[in-house]
Amino acid sequence: MNDAAIMDNIARIRERIARAAAGAGRRPEDVRLMAVAKTVDDERIAAAIAAGVDIIGENYVQEAKRKIESMGRPCQWHLIGHLQTNKAKHAARLFDMIHSVDRLEVARELDRRAAGAGRIVPILIEVNVSGETTKRGVSREEALNLTREIAPLERLSIRGLMTMAPWFDDPEAARPYFASLRILRDRIAAADIPGVHMEELSMGMSGDFEAAVAEGATIVRIGRSLFGERPPR
């Protein structure tokens, strides 16, 4: 896929975001577009950045580290993949936001490493709304408790929630999962936990982002529709 095709894709995605936002009475600029760059080479990432994506999303810390070292930081880099404790050191230094915090111990390690790096790291709590055992994330019912436990960690700033809906043929079928995350977000916000902000809802991917935007997504994570199918690794 060449640069022009990537630019085209981004324009089309922006248009669809704008339409979904308008349909829900929201402003398109309240939805940030993340290009999910797992296995995507630097050249195509550069094209996406040039075409105006807001965020580059990475699944693996090592891969992100290499890319950030070679490309610098022309836009935000977020971690969306599972974070292992032994990768917390680099993660705390590299990312503008980490979407995949779902355990206290990983949060503690991240907090410790963020202190070492002299940073405050914005994080999202990853929630497993569907309850599928194949999915990562804290359960809906434990999300509030986990948030309370992480809130006192001074080097982490909780900014909202992230989820991944199950895959459906019909994207509308994913919508209740997004509605559920939003209800949860509102409930956690209402708990008024000091230091906890609940403005971000990271939800929606290539197959279902319009439903997510309609339900209040503030970050959509697009890979396939933006860069094309991934080559097998």
Binding site: E141, R175, A179, I183
Partner: protein, 208 residues
């Protein structure tokens, strides 16, 4: 009956008592039981527990029925700060009845009403105090040999043979049965799920 629902109602519960109670309202609804993990969480108080399980039950159904009103509920019996769930076997039922005998305990029911298509979710917890008279050993043996205690929190049914033991109830009877109807109706009304059409005989009749 003149009660109309704005959208279909689903009761997400396997309990025949709850179904029976909800039928009393004359509402049309569907029953779709959902299985949830009923293990206790550490440091979870009884109120939190019934709300959590009630919402879990409703949530599982609501995800695939986002346009419907989905009602879930969970009930436990609490005595001396200890929560009694459903007894697994006759010895467990016997222990529960011994604890309840001659004393007052609390029944907590939590319910959750969801309609995900409208991003609607409310939860409420309702309590009632129930006083048992002393249960003799023979009565206990007789009761635990009946099928009644085994699918019920606290090992008794207020509307069944368990009525035998009950001296007094403070609070909602339907709550002790498993679904506090008064509060559920309030919640349905507040949500805009219910409207009260006037009975057909009243009013002025057809215009003209």
């Amino acid at each position: 009956m003149g009660l109309t629902l704005s959208h279909p109602l689903i009761l997400a519960s396997a309990s025949p008592r709850r179904e029976e109670l909800l039928r009393l309202l004359g509402l049309d609804f569907q029953v779709l039981p959902s299985r949830v993990d009923e293990t206790f969480l550490v440091n979870e108080n009884p109120g939190e527990r019934v709300l959590r399980l009630a919402e879990n039950k409703a949530h599982i159904v609501a995800l695939t029925h986002p346009r419907a009103w989905v009602l879930g509920a969970d009930t436990i019996v609490v005595i001396d700060g200890e929560a009694l769930g459903k007894p697994a076997d006759p010895p467990a039922a016997a222990r529960m009845l011994e604890k309840l005998s001659g004393r007052t305990h609390e029944v907590y029911t939590g319910f959750a009403l969801l309609r995900l298509a409208a991003r609607f979710a409310v939860r409420r917890e309702v309590r009632a105090a129930v006083t048992f008279r002393k249960i003799s050993p023979e009565e206990k043996m007789w009761y635990i040999r009946s099928p009644e205690p085994y699918d019920k929190a606290g090992a008794y049914a207020v509307q069944g043979l368990g009525a035998f033991f009950i001296k007094e109830i403070h609070g909602s009877y339907t709550n002790v049965m498993g679904l506090p109807l008064c509060e559920v109706v309030d919640a349905l009304k507040a949500a805009g799920a219910l409207s009260f059409a006037p009975p057909p005989e009243e009013g002025r009749g057809p215009a003209g």
